[in-house]
Every structure is written in structure tokens, then in C-alpha cells.
Symmetry: C2
Subunit: 356 residues, 2 copies
């Protein structure tokens, strides 16, 4: 059975402001220092498993030209532009009907475009194992991440350690972002994984599930599928997609299904959720600083400094994030990284859209 | 007797980097927010006492065009360019011989060009009082500043409270920058003033003192004086000034003379010695921030932010100095303001003169 991939690249992440902008979100940025953008790395990573012509990109109109520019090898017809944002269930459904149009049935790997993975071959092996489970019956597989610490910013997957299938376990339930206390309990039990948002299933399995659990969405998707390749394709997509219920795949399908399996992933996953991640993914110098660009540091420790051409000179600083771009400079205490969104709120209120 | 002034504007202060540069030192910057530069404020301040045509500016070749641009009212021949730096005694001597050439004798007020004064009329009154003392015999008068706190960055003047002349006291001795402990002792005695570097004397008095105490400098100055207005003026200035001993007026004259008087000044003096001074001279907002330019602050307290066109966004900061200029941005912990010079050292070592 063909293995295909759907890469989700419609996100408008704000947490990498001022480097990420409304018209240049995180997946199109290079954050690793090797010059490759997050989405380029994502594609490169799965090429041992999925041929370029079988990779589909889900994005929106605003980012179509960025996708074309950064991923010239992807067939144009594989770039699926959502006319509006309807959360992950319609997004993955749109991918599924396109793949079904091309291959009738196929294995479908669904991946975010803005995560990093350290051990690519282990990741590929995990996806291969997941594909095996997915090809059996109509199992849906979600890739879980073995947690390192009690993170409160992710959802968790509770699995049943007594019911396994190959290297995967059956899922008991999905749980929302926990409090620190609860997260610590999860970690202690060894029966919880982080929900990474990566899935493997057969196209036929996910469409069958949608028919059962999200029948209205399924009907709309069928109309869209029938129009693919016709002169009305765009018009029908526009109309039907707009009318689809906005619902996440977790809430719409995964939490309501029985035959969900999860594989504990240990391939060095990082969702690169904020500027703080740069410290994890790039090498620090002897003072604990991660420095890039035209920068002079004096008595400066444990800072993340993303400079550009302009000289950034720091004196006596500790635990700051400094990001310089052409029209805006961010200076943020590390513990306040979550408040970067307040700047964007402020800019929105003041109608200063040029900085968003 | 005519009252003249010599404004010293040759300094190359580095403590306002990156706003001050080798080719734009502090005296030519506007730091008060009213658009006027320090030297413009200095001139404006003394106009009630000294006519424009009697104000002499001592500077160096590099800054001549800045002086001409910022002070168009000063006669061109009153702009005295030192061919090289020889400390304050030769600088003031050069001013004295120029004034003597014009008026034979006159009262001469010597002022730095980069200090701020809050109460101008009180300042003028102090200078008037000082002029009276200076015109009597050949007294040299230095303006002292009544200290507010035990500053360790200034020299002090010890006066004798039992010997006064009008509002002035006779000086016992000049003392170097003290330790904090010693500075506290000085403050407790009420017999010490800060040495502000402002002087009042007759031209004849200071030249006579130079003849006595610095005879070689005096001889050189006489040759320079004789050449003023002749075709050889520049050539002789170049040669003679170069050969003058480099020595401060404090060390060369004041500390070795008997008839030195000091007036305790209480006119809101500030030497604007570093970025920290901005907090004293500009109004803070309710969060203790002094903010200028295109700036958004989130959870930011007690910071000095000098922005420009580029957006500066701060999150969760406290006690920082942030200065943005076209080609360089400084981010400095307030307590580390003294280490800004280390950036300049670093730039010099690396030959990055474009930033100096």
C-alpha cells in the first residue's frame, strides 16, 4: 500500500514574533541555524518513507506562494489551500479526499510542519511501525511522545499498558493540558504520553470514521472530492469548506473512537513552542548564551540573542530573549515569554498591522 | 569689565554610546527631550550674562563643523580648535590669550558644554557673585556643587568655612575621587563641595598664574597669541600647542595656588555622566520608565528606553537601559552602565571603527 503524507502548514503562530509575522509564520522560518526552514526540514525528514509526489501540503491562500517558493519539488496539485480555517478535522478530511482521489486507498501520515526531530531514522522507524498497525483493520494511530518532564502546555494520551499491538498500545483516553501537579502524577505512572498531533491511518479508515462520527463534514468532503479536477473545483471548495463545522480531530474523532493506538516516540521531538526552544535546539556558548548575528555580549549569561545586521550590544544581562528584525526588536525576560502575545494584542488594538 | 566665556567642547565621552559616537559626542546630543543639544543649552543659559560675541568655544578640528552648525550665532573667530588634546590647562590658556587679544583684560567664565542646570537664574546669580570675587585682586574662583549624596565619581573641594568673601569660601585643598566611606565623611562635615569644573577669573589673573606655575606653557601661549590674526596663525598654533605640556588646570594651577575661592552652587547641577542621568532629567511614567520613540512596554518597570523609528517591544523587564540607533542597539543592566566602555574596547580591538 502506498504511503502518503499530509503536512499541515496553515498555522499562524505568534510566539516567534517579531521574527514570525502574520505573513511569515514559524513553519516558514529557519530556527535551527542551518538555513533550512521548519517545513523544509519536515519534508526532508520523511523522504525516506514518502515519495515527493505523495506529499500533500495543507495550507491557506496567504501562504501558497511561500510553500511554492520553499518546496519547489512538491507537485502544484498537492498544495491544498483551505479557503478558511476550520480546525484539524476538516483539514485532515480535505487531505484524505485528495489522497483518495489519487490512490483510492493509501496509508496517510499526518504531520505538523513546525516541529523538530533530532533522530530522524528513529522517527522513520516509528512511522513504519505505526503504518503496520494502521494497515491492520481500520486502526487509527497517534504518535505519542515519552515525556521528559511534567509539561503543562501539552495534552496527554493515557494508554493501556496491558493491551499492545506490536510496539503500540491501545489508547484509554485523551486528556487536556494538565496542572503541574496532575502532570507530575501522569509522569509518575509511565502510562501517559504527550499528544504530538502526528497521526497515521489509512485514508479509508479516517474517512469511514468521519462518515460515522462527523457525517455532515463527510458529506461536504465528498462534494469537494467529486469536484477535484473539474472547472468548478475552486468554487465548490470555497462554498463547501466554508460550511464545514470547525472541530479538532482529537475532539471529533480520536476521543470518541475505540480502536486508537499510540506508539511511544523517543526520537528527540521538540514542538519549538516559543523562543525558549532555541536554547534546546541550538548550541549555547560557555556563558549559556545562544547568539546569532552581529552581537557583542559583555557580562551576559543565559540569553537567547537573535541578531541581524544591526549591532546588538549587551551588558550585564541574564535570562533575556533578544530578537532583532528589520522593523522591530523584542527584549523579553525568559519567564515572560508567554506574554509576547500581549505585544501582538497591543499592536492589534492600535491597528499597527504592519508589525503583525 | 567685560564678561566673557570659554565653553569647553572638545570631549569625546563614550558613556552615551551608542547615541554618542566619536564624531558626535555628548555635548552635541539632545538628551533632555526638548530638541536642544547640551551645548546649545549651555550657550542659551549664559546669554543673560555674556553677549554672544564674547562666547568662545574650545573644541577640536573634528567638531568644528558641528559647532558651526549647532551654534550659528557664535562668531567664527571665537571657535578655537585645538590641534591636539593637551588637557585643561593649555585649553583654558588658549582661550585666555584669545580673550586677552580681544579685550586686554576681561572676566572669563569657563564652563563645560555637557552639563545640565535646572535653575538657570540661580546659576547666573552664582556666576555674578563669582565674578565679583574674581575681579577683586587676582582671585581664582571655582564653582563647587553642594553634594546631595556621597558620590564617588567626582573630585571634591575642601573649603575653609571660617574664611569667606561675600558668598564664597577660601579653598583648603582639592581632593581626588574618594572611596564611598571617605565620601560619606566629607558629606558629614559640610565642608566639601563637588568639583564641577566651572571657573571664573580675570584673564590677567589666570595668565599671571600660568606665568608663575606653568612658565613653559605660558611662553608657548604667548607665541600663539602673537600670531593671532596673522597668516602664520594656524601654523604656529599647530606647532606650539603640540609642544605644550598636557596637564589639568586642577593639578597645574588650582592645587598649587593660595587665593582660590569656591562658591557653593545649589542650582540643580547634573553632569549627565551616563545613561542613568536620563532618569533624573526626564520624567518617568507611572511604571518608573523613561520612554522615548516607538516603544511598547509590557510588564516593564524602571527602565530607560531610548527608541527611534524601529519598534522596541519589551516584556517582563526591570532596571534596564535600552538605546536603539540606526546601526546599533544597546541593552544594558542599570548597575552595569559603567561597563558600556567595554563594548567600545571590544569594538576598537576588532577594528570596527564604524561603530565607535
Amino acid at each position: 500500500m502506498k504511503t502518503t503524507a499530509l503536512i499541515m502548514a496553515g498555522g499562524r503562530g505568534e510566539r516567534f514574533w517579531p521574527k514570525s509575522r502574520k505573513n511569515l509564520p514559524k513553519q516558514f522560518l529557519s530556527l535551527t541555524g542551518d538555513g533550512k526552514t521548519m517545513i523544509q526540514l519536515t519534508i526532508e525528514r520523511i523522504l525516506p518513507l514518502v515519495a515527493m509526489e505523495d506529499i500533500f501540503i495543507s495550507t491557506n491562500k496567504d501562504y501558497k506562494s511561500l510553500v511554492l517558493e520553499q518546496l519547489p519539488g512538491i507537485p502544484r496539485e498537492n498544495i491544498l489551500c483551505e479557503p478558511c480555517s476550520r480546525n484539524t478535522a476538516p483539514c485532515m478530511g480535505l487531505g484524505a479526499v485528495h489522497i483518495a482521489k489519487k490512490y483510492e486507498d493509501a496509508t496517510m501520515v499526518v504531520l505538523p510542519s513546525d516541529h523538530l526531530i533530532r533522530y530522524n531514522s528513529m522517527f522513520i522507524n516509528t512511522l513504519k511501525d505505526a503504518s503496520e498497525i494502521a494497515q491492520k483493520d481500520s486502526n487509527l494511530v497517534t504518535i505519542g511522545i515519552t515525556p521528559d518532564y511534567p509539561e503543562t502546555g501539552y495534552g496527554y494520551i493515557k494508554f493501556n499498558p496491558d493491551i499492545c499491538e506490536g510496539r503500540s498500545f491501545i489508547v484509554d483516553r485523551f486528556v487536556e493540558k494538565p496542572s503541574l501537579e496532575v502532570a507530575k502524577e501522569y509522569l509518575a505512572t509511565d502510562e501517559y504520553l504527550w499528544n504530538s498531533g502526528m497521526f497515521v491511518w489509512k485514508v479509508s479508515s479516517i474517512l469511514q470514521k468521519m462518515k460515522e462520527l462527523l457525517p455532515e463534514i463527510y458529506e461536504g468532503l465528498l462534494k469537494i472530492q467529486n469536484a477535484i479536477g473539474t472547472p468548478e473545483e475552486e468554487e465548490i471548495l470555497e462554498k463547501e469548506f466554508h460550511d464545514l463545522q470547525s472541530i479538532s480531530i482529537d475532539y471529533g474523532i480520536m476521543e470518541k473512537s475505540k480502536n486508537i493506538y499510540t506508539l511511544p516516540g523517543t526520537f528527540g521531538w521538540d514542538d519549538v513552542g516559543s523562543w525558549l526552544a532555541v536554547k534546546r535546539i541550538k548550541k549555547s556558548n560557555e556563558f549559556g548564551n545562544v547568539v546569532n548575528g552581529n552581537v557583542i555580549t559583555i557580562e551576559t549569561k543565559n540569553c537567547i540573542i537573535e541578531g541581524s545586521k544591526k549591532l546588538i550590544a549587551t551588558v550585564g544581562l541574564e535570562n533575556l530573549i533578544i530578537v532583532d528584525t528589520q522593523d522591530a526588536t523584542l527584549i523579553c525576560e525568559k519567564d515572560s515569554a508567554g506574554d509576547i502575545k500581549k505585544i501582538l494584542e497591543n499592536l492589534k488594538i492600535c491597528n499597527r498591522n504592519e508589525y503583525l
